[in-house]
Symmetry: C2
Subunit: 327 residues, 2 copies
């Protein structure tokens, strides 16, 4: 049932799975008896915080690097995609250049550099990172690995969905829904591609921060909407201003809908992940869990899967959230 | 090569595995590229913080409850064993009574009660919990589940070792050593039973807090030594004053030795687990990781496995440790 207008199919996810086998952490599904009792349902959690580099981004980056076999790569990212590409390039034995904002947190610069990447800093106000990335690609012959609007990246992220399906079937469970954090939409597009092919009765939802719920609104209107002007959010990993072209082409066909959560709901989800799951989750990684805990998506009597997409959070912010002091 | 003087053999671990299948979380082995680079070795981490009730204790408790099929159970514990027994009893559909100190943290009392256990409080200074537990067992016919000196409990904990062996072999890795947190010695005895039967070239070590390194000293002297009088430690889960009789009979045959770590090393390990593994580890759960990070056990050029045995830590203590302020 592959359609020509869909840029990524299940066969691409299966090909990614073969490339990633042995290189990625096969993250488990975990759950908490106390959380299940509280929700009067069953909640299975996919902790991509345990993935290499601390987020799912390594899956897509590694798939793209291994499939394209370039001589060098370039990427623009202030966060998790940067580390994913840098590590994938190091494992492939090729140089990487990452375009990062000059005001990015020192720890993110240091960690990306530690994987052997060359950092090209830019000024957020005066320069456009896409142009810098494309210029480096043109001049040096490096291949640009886009963070989400790239079929190989989407297919790589989809391997997380394939693992969810396998682990549910191994337990004899058919989940009612899978909830996935959404920025540009690459992770949810990949997971939906895998889930729709393996668990066709399971609905897949994108979860976004309030104000950055452009995918939710785009799914309703049928065209790519923009994030609210001047919106702010604690979820630094999910601030993409509009759905990707390729990701939206997939998501409008496959997703059951979009959900939005507040910063306060995200902070509570981070605390619950600490107390009940013993996992460190960054704000953007906690939005799907937040939607379930806050009742934005009802859990009673249902079997749900939520993806915790990343765990790269500064310890001082984490301590403030634990103490219940707004970030 | 089973010996009559050894109270638990590999066959017991295999029987436990069959009982626990589908009831426990099969925790993965995870690792961090940055940590491996820092250590110039390969460090595989077994996160039992993801186990049901947040620690490995559920394995042994569930194995004992399922094997003995009692009408009721009783246990004494101020911590993780309490929750493990309470949940195992609930899953078996039988009542449980847990003997806990009156000054135990409110959250531990509440969590144990939430699993349906009846709590019998006692005064640490005036009463002996063993006597209370044995008295309840005599009067009510409930079966006493000891926290570590019980063959079925040791065999249940050993299933974690079997999983370590399987996951190492699946990756084509032969670890030089497996390092395991040690209080009464049940977890390390069980894991050593499994590892010695499956990876006979791999050394197994017990890791304890300084002052409570009674197993380390007992392994050296050949008889059961006591913890240092008046010793204190941040590791509330590892304060057993002397090795168990059964656990020591196993550990003196199978362990390569014991190691001791300071509170400062433990706090640093908790921070590293947060930063590099995105896992929440309680102080006692972090001692094996601490031994590797602090260089108490050298990692360079080696493949090591460490068990993170539990994650039940209060958020205010955790925040203090993250901030580098001694607990």
């Amino acid at each position: 049932m592959e359609n020509q207008s869909v840029p990524v199919g299940f066969a691409d996810v299966l090909a990614a799975r073969r490339r990633l086998c042995g290189a990625v952490v096969r993250t488990p599904l975990v759950e908490s008896d106390r959380l299940n009792a509280r929700l009067a349902g069953r909640l299975l959690v996919k902790p991509e915080v345990l993935q290499r580099t601390g987020s799912f981004k390594f899956r897509g980056a590694y798939n793209a690097v291994m499939a394209l076999a370039p001589k060098a790569v370039v990427a623009f990212s202030s966060g998790n995609h940067a580390q994913g590409v840098a590590l994938a390039a190091r494992l492939a034995g090729i140089p990487s250049t990452i375009v990062m904002p000059a005001d990015a947190p020192a720890i993110k610069l240091a960690r990306t550099r530690a994987f052997g990447a060359e950092i090209r800093l830019y000024d957020r106000r005066r320069e456009r990172r896409e142009e810098i990335g494309e210029d480096i690609a043109r001049r040096t012959g490096a291949v640009l690995i886009r963070p989400y609007d790239e079929p190989l990246v989407i297919a790589g992220q989809g391997t997380a969905g394939l693992e969810i399906a396998e682990d549910c079937l191994a337990r004899g469970l058919l989940p009612d829904a899978v909830l996935v954090p959404c920025g540009g939409g690459g992770l949810v597009a990949g997971i939906a591609t895998a889930i729709c092919a393996t668990l066709p009765g399971t609905a897949v939802y994108a979860v976004e921060p309030e104000g950055f719920d452009d995918t939710r609104r785009s799914l309703l209107s049928g065209r790519r909407e923009q994030a609210a002007p001047g919106a702010t959010s604690l979820c630094d990993a999910l601030l993409a201003p509009t759905p990707g072209e390729l990701t939206f082409a997939i998501n409008r066909r496959l997703l059951a809908g979009g959900l939005a959560v507040s910063d306060a709901m995200v902070e509570e989800a981070m605390r619950v992940a600490f107390d009940e799951l013993h996992l460190v989750v960054e704000p953007g990684g906690a939005v799907a869990l937040a939607a379930v805990l806050a009742g934005v998506f009802p859990a009673a009597g249902r079997t749900l899967v939520v993806v915790l997409s990343g765990g790269n959070v500064d310890s001082s912010l984490f301590a403030r959230v634990l103490a219940g002091r707004p970030g």
